[in-house]
């Protein structure tokens, strides 16, 4: 699948740095001054940290109440208190999906003010089998947040369980947090280069699908029909069915437009299904390892399909391997 994606080069407004910590207390010790400085500047602060760290930061910052998850924007004024960003939901942990969701959340925060400061803390529970989740997440943040005026500081343990976590962090971050200041990181590589060695990880296998169909350009209508059936069975209302049909249609269109002519759709249904779960596969290669993460320029005729699909689904994970390119979609009603 050659997924058309945004080619326009915008101004990079993201400041993305990595810091390395020796203990949970060190996480709080390194994060607190960054948060405090942002609040002195009047900038909103967002946190993606473990609950214990959130509680410790609350105490250090003399917050009187526990922090809450990001309330829905858009904000007319910067929230006075730090907000918690969404945590990964559902059985699949997809760094690219999480980066896309954070980008949407952070845009609502930056609309009210010039910038936003974000603290991200490594959480071993999300490592998966090899820690590649974090490499994918940081590469995806570099793409999704390019034009967002955010200062994102990611705090990683100096000695993580998986070596990949530390190595990925060193390659992904243009800046390093050293003695409380963000400095140039000579080891930084572009997302494409980082993911060339190790692409987005494949999600956990789901077992044989309940329905499988091959399709070509002239069978996209049948793909839409199949997805509509599954979405209705999962309890979606008419508008949600329409939106999910559109999302899968865009992914399937990429597969037939740029794939090798060997595209197929897998759908998992069953009486217990409370969400739409499907995958689109083709035998093509992936030019852009993280497609559809950046809003397309209005004048760009192409590259909108996957971006729209990402806005409509709860999970959209693209990965590739020797067999071709694959997209998993999960969507709640």
């Amino acid at each position: 699948m050659r997924v058309e994606t945004t080619r326009s080069a915008g101004v990079v407004r993201l400041r993305h740095g990595a810091g390395f910590t020796s203990s949970p207390d060190d996480v709080v010790a390194q994060a607190a001054p960054i948060v405090a400085a942002a609040r002195v500047r009047g900038e909103p602060v967002a946190l993606a940290v473990r609950p214990a760290t959130a509680a410790a930061l609350t105490a250090v910052l003399e917050e009187t109440e526990p922090l809450t998850a990001h309330p829905s924007g858009p904000f007319t004024a910067a929230p006075a208190r730090p907000v918690l960003l969404l945590r990964p939901e559902g059985p699949d942990h997809s760094g690219q999906t999480l980066a896309g969701r954070w980008a949407r959340e952070l845009r609502t925060l930056t609309r009210s003010r010039g910038g936003v400061t974000v603290i991200v803390e490594h959480d071993g529970d999300l490592d998966g089998i090899d820690g590649a989740f974090w490499t994918e997440l940081d590469a995806a943040l570099n793409v999704a947040l390019t034009e967002v005026a955010a200062t994102v500081v990611c705090l990683y343990p100096q000695l993580p369980l998986h070596l990949e976590v530390a190595e990925g962090a060193r390659r992904n971050h243009p800046l390093l947090l050293v003695d409380g200041a963000l400095r140039h990181n000579p080891a930084h590589r572009e997302p494409r280069d980082v993911l060339a060695a190790r692409g987005a990880p494949a999600p956990a296998l789901l077992g044989p699908p309940d329905r499988r169909m091959g399709f070509d350009t002239w069978q996209l209508a049948a793909v839409r029909e199949r997805v509509a059936e599954a979405a209705r069975a999962a309890g979606c209302d008419r508008d949600r069915v329409d939106d999910l049909v559109l999302a899968v249609n865009e992914v399937a269109t990429n597969a037939v437009e740029h794939g090798s002519g060997d595209a197929h759709l897998d759908v998992w249904t069953g009486p217990a299904a409370r969400e739409l779960v499907c995958e689109v596969h083709d035998a093509g290669t992936l030019d852009d390892p993280l497609p559809g993460l950046r809003a397309p320029h209005p004048s760009d005729p192409r590259g909108r399909g996957l971006w729209i699909a990402r806005q409509l689904c709860d999970l959209l994970h693209v990965w590739s391997d020797a067999a071709g390119t694959h997209v998993r979609i999960r969507a709640l009603p």
Binding site: L220, A221, R238, D243, L246, N249, E257, R304, I308
Partner: protein
């Protein structure tokens, strides 16, 4: 079909969209003439009613008061299994009933494909002869649809030969997924779905319509596209329409009418609200489902 001399005709739609279009036109003509219209359903009535709503034909009152009567699928199949003379008697009874109820006449149409179960449509042919007898000299019109999706070609030829009159509805384009018709000199209607398979046709149609308008002295400055029956538009199709309107000369505009909510949402995501020369007006019914589900 609305000429007095034509009482019994057939039509052979090549696509479902053409079937809904022609059925709705036949029903609409009957309703506006004050006639009673009987539709023999076989899983198709929702699509016909949806098309009537798209055509801005009020159907709730006719359905409630019986001017538009839908014969349920099971009854349709039973009627088509009954002996021919029963069908003729039944039709004569329907005409009598319509006259007694004060209607000036009766229209009869529907989805008759279950009649194929019986000896490959020969019986349907006998049925046509009985219809001719039953409606001779009476205020009734019958339109038999033998659409190519449901009827085999050889049966269609047999049945077509039994009708003196065949109705057709021309289209600019029809690929079974999307049907494009011209409803007025500078008004084009899209029915069905636009995706990767037929998107180039739509964009060519926009370019051709603009070209025609620019060359004509009498053309209006706004090109009218009726999307009332467009159920799906993909992202690249939406971008194509928005970019086409943005590329119009300043003297001209593109107006999309009757846009359904799902199509509206993708147009919005693709920049339609910011295209200065594009007007989008929503579908009046909003399309929450078949219009009369509870009324039948």
């Amino acid at each position: 079909m609305d000429q007095r001399s034509v009482a019994h005709a057939c039509a052979i739609p090549g696509s479902d969209e053409q079937l809904w279009e022609m059925t709705a036109a036949f029903v609409t003509a009957g309703l506006s003439a004050g006639e009673q219209v009987v539709y023999f359903d076989d899983g198709t009535v929702d699509a016909v009613l949806e098309r009537l709503v798209d055509d801005r034909v009020p159907v709730r009152r006719p359905l409630a008061d019986g001017q538009l009567t839908v014969v349920e699928a099971a009854e349709t199949r039973r009627a088509l299994r009954a002996p021919v003379r029963d069908a003729a008697t039944g039709l004569a009874g329907l005409i009598d009933g319509a006259i007694d109820a004060g209607y000036p006449g009766l229209r009869w149409t529907g989805q008759l494909s279950s009649g194929l179960d019986r000896t490959r449509g020969v019986w349907l042919g006998d049925h046509d002869a009985a219809i001719d007898t039953a409606i001779a000299g009476r205020p009734a019109r019958v339109l038999c649809f033998y659409d190519r999706h449901r009827f085999p070609d050889d049966v269609i030829e047999l049945l077509r030969a039994r009708h003196r009159i065949e109705l057709d509805a021309p289209a600019l384009y029809d690929d079974n997924l999307l049907r494009i018709t011209r409803t007025a000199p500078f008004r084009i209607r899209f029915a069905g779905e636009v995706d990767h398979s037929n998107r180039p046709v739509v964009l060519r149609m926009v370019a051709a319509a603009l070209d025609e308008a620019l060359r004509s002295h009498s053309a209006p400055a706004t090109l009218e596209f009726d999307l009332s029956s467009l159920r799906f538009l993909d992202g690249a199709g939406a971008v194509g329409l928005v970019h086409a309107a943005e590329g119009f000369p300043e003297s001209h505009r593109l107006a999309l009418h009757g846009v359904r909510p799902g199509v509206q949402r993708i147009l919005d995501r693709c920049g339609a609200p910011f295209a200065a020369q594009l007007d989008v007006t929503p579908h009046p019914a909003g399309h929450d489902g078949p219009p009369v589900a509870g009324a039948r």
